[in-house]
Every structure is written in C-alpha cells, then in structure tokens.
C-alpha cells in the first residue's frame, strides 16, 4: 500500500538535531512538517474535530501540498491501525494505485570506503532455545534465531524481534595491525592490541535502546590469533577471544547489564602483500543482562563485505 499510493519516508529527529549544520534543509523541512501539524490541529480545534497526535516517534500522512491529514503515536501504530490510517487517506483523496515512486532498495547498504580499507558487517541478534515455540526451524545449534515469519503481527513489537546490524570500516593502518609482525609457522600465536580489540568488540551487544558506543565500558577483552595453516603466502589463523562489557539498555539510565561472550573466528591473509582474504568472527555462548533483567542469550556475527 505504501508503494502503490504514497511517497514513504522515514526521518530520525535525533540525527537531524545532532547534524543541524550539514542537514539544514532537511531539518527545516522536518520542522515545517510539525508546523503543518500545528496548523491542522488549530483548524481541528476550531471545527470541533479531535486533535492529531504529534510527537517525535509517530507515523504521519501529509497531502501532496503539505497539509497534515492524520497521525498515529507509535504506541498505537500496530499494523491494523496504520493500515486503517492509510486506507482512509486513499479513500479521502480518491487515489489510484500505481508503481512505487522510488524503487525499493536496501536500507542498509555497504558504506563507501577507501580502496585499501576493509568493510565489516556485523549482525547481532537475540537467540532462543531451538525447542522453543519462537525458534526458527532448520537451523543448527542449541540456541537459534527467532522465527521472523511472525513479524508484522500485532505482537511482534519487542526488542528480540529483529536483529541489529552495524557497518564499520577498518582503514589500512588498522586492519594491518591484525596481522603478525613477523613470518609465522603453524602454532604461532599473537595478540590483537587492546585498542584494536576494542574497536572490533565494542559493537558486540544485542538490540538495545542505547547505541552510543562511547557509553560502553569494556572490562575484559582479548583476541588471540593462532596460525592453523601456512601454505606459501597464505596463512589461516583461528581467533579466540573473550569479552566482558558493561552496556546499559537505555541511554541516560544506568544499570548493571553486562555482555559476556566468548569469541571465535577465522582469518585468512597474505602477510607479504599484505591482504586479508577472509575474516569471520562470531560469539559463542554470549549473554546480556544484569540483576534486574536475567541474562538473555544472543549472537554476533561479523564478516568482511567487499
């Protein structure tokens, strides 16, 4: 319905406010939307109609000329309610169905970077026991992802429902520090320096409302690499690590929630060039929680994306 009748858009007010200098036009448009809502509510008050709900976390419908038509507070924006709002707009405006104005495309694209940089993609998701009713079928392991086919239902709005993602870029002077300084033989080990380990591991937390990485406190972190095969210029090394990180659930609300995770991974590289051919890191037995909320199992998977 969104594709057929509307021009859909989403806007992060927090990001706009924080980047007011570079997003001046966008911030002005955002504020004009709220001004239009204020005007609409003024007219509604005069005519005795109910006011439109307004706020920073809402769904809105605006006419093509900018008039505010309808709204839903996020707490009341379940699928049925939003569909009702959209259908009422379609009927009231006498709209005809059509093709999407903007072709659907990935909203989480790989970021641009320098040619010699490495782009890493991280997925983080809560896990459930494989025998639970919410478990995805056909996946190995004792702890598995949730069944995503339930999404879109009235009761799917909870933190565990969707995985989180992160993209981060390691510049050449960072990813080369993952590699050993000298030639290695099978069995040789080396440690990733603490600062680089922090860069890699600070995003290892499940979906929460706090996403400011500067609020994380890494109490324990280690990444040890061990060469498991050396064939000519190609080295394969396993990664074994540990993470204990304080990560509050909500911004501005301290708690004692902690990430506890064992890390395991694999890296394949050519030390001579140097070049990383493959890098994959996952958690093993990771949990998140504290005294107020019992520990939830979750999993993180990181890989290079070219």
């Amino acid at each position: 319905m969104l594709n057929a009748y509307f021009v859909p858009v989403y806007v992060d007010g927090t990001y706009l406010q924080a980047h007011a200098d570079t997003e001046a036009d966008e911030l002005a448009a955002y504020r004009e939307m709220f001004a239009a809502l204020h005007r609409a509510n003024g007219e509604r008050q005069q005519s005795g109609q109910p006011q439109l709900s307004t706020g920073t976390v809402h769904a809105y419908v605006f006419a093509a000329d900018g008039r505010a038509l309808d709204s839903r507070h996020v707490a009341h924006a379940g699928p049925a309610s939003v569909i009702e709002m959209l259908e009422e707009a379609v009927t009231a405006l006498g709209l005809s169905t059509g093709e999407p104005i903007v072709a659907p495309h990935s909203q989480s694209p790989r970021p641009d970077c320098a040619d010699d940089a490495v782009v890493l993609h991280l997925t983080s998701r809560y896990l459930v026991p494989r025998n639970s009713a919410e478990a995805r079928q056909g996946v190995d392991g004792e702890l598995v992802p949730l069944d995503a086919s339930r999404l879109g239902g009235e009761r799917s709005g909870q933190w565990s429902a969707l995985p989180s993602e992160d993209w981060f870029v390691l510049q050449r002077d960072e990813w080369t520090r993952l590699l050993p300084k000298d030639r290695v033989a099978v069995g040789d080990t080396w440690q990733v320096e603490e600062q680089l380990a922090d860069t890699l591991l600070t995003r290892f937390y499940p979906t929460t409302e706090l996403n400011d990485l500067s609020e994380n406190r890494l109490d324990e972190r280690s990444l040890k690499l061990t060469a498991v095969s050396v064939e000519g210029d190609r080295v394969r090394a396993r990664i074994d690590g540990r993470l204990k990180m304080k990560h509050a659930f909500y911004p501005g609300r301290d708690d004692d929630n902690v990430v506890n995770a064992t890390i395991i991974g694999l890296i394949e590289f050519d030390p001579a060039k140097p070049h990383i051919d493959a890098l994959q890191i996952v958690t093993d037995g990771a949990t998140y929680g504290g005294s107020a909320s019992r520990s939830q199992p979750f999993g993180v998977a990181v890989q290079i994306v070219r």
Binding site: V7, P8, V102, L162
Partner: protein
Amino acid sequence: MGFSRCWQSILTGVICSVSSLVPPAATVADDDVAALVERRVHDWQPTKDERLLDQVGWAADLVAAQRLAKKHQRPLFLFTYSGSTTRVNAIALQRC
C-alpha cells in the same frame, strides 16, 4: 519496551538446562572452526522477513519526499523516530 516477565522466566529456565550442551569455543578443534564460524555467520544473517523495510520504496530524505509528493501528486507517509546521533539510518540497522 522490554521483555515480558514471562519471556524472561522461560528463557532463564531453558538456558540453564541447555547451556551445558554447548561446547565452549576453546574446545573447538582447529579443523572445525571454519565450519562452525561459517555456519553461524550464515544462520545469523538478517533474513528477507527481517528486512521488510527494504521492500518499501523509501525516499532518500524528507526534502526529496516532499518534492516527489508534489511532482506525482501523492500523499506523503512519514515515520519519525528518535534514533542515533552517529548512525544516519539507525532504524534500518535496528541500532536506535
């Protein structure tokens, strides 16, 4: 939003019983690391059902949306949220 108490209690009970069944990573033999890591990376990727956001033709930003709405005489559907000061598409990343 948060987990329901029922959800938490169910998870806690089952975790206690299954946690002993998962071999710690340190005991994974060298030859088995690649398969374990590859499998988890594959299984834990976002699925199409979890990326329903990608099936909507979202305008790049509000200014573009307003321009397109006027040009094509279509109403604008706007979802506003409080996301992140650092991630421009926090809602798509579920890091908001």
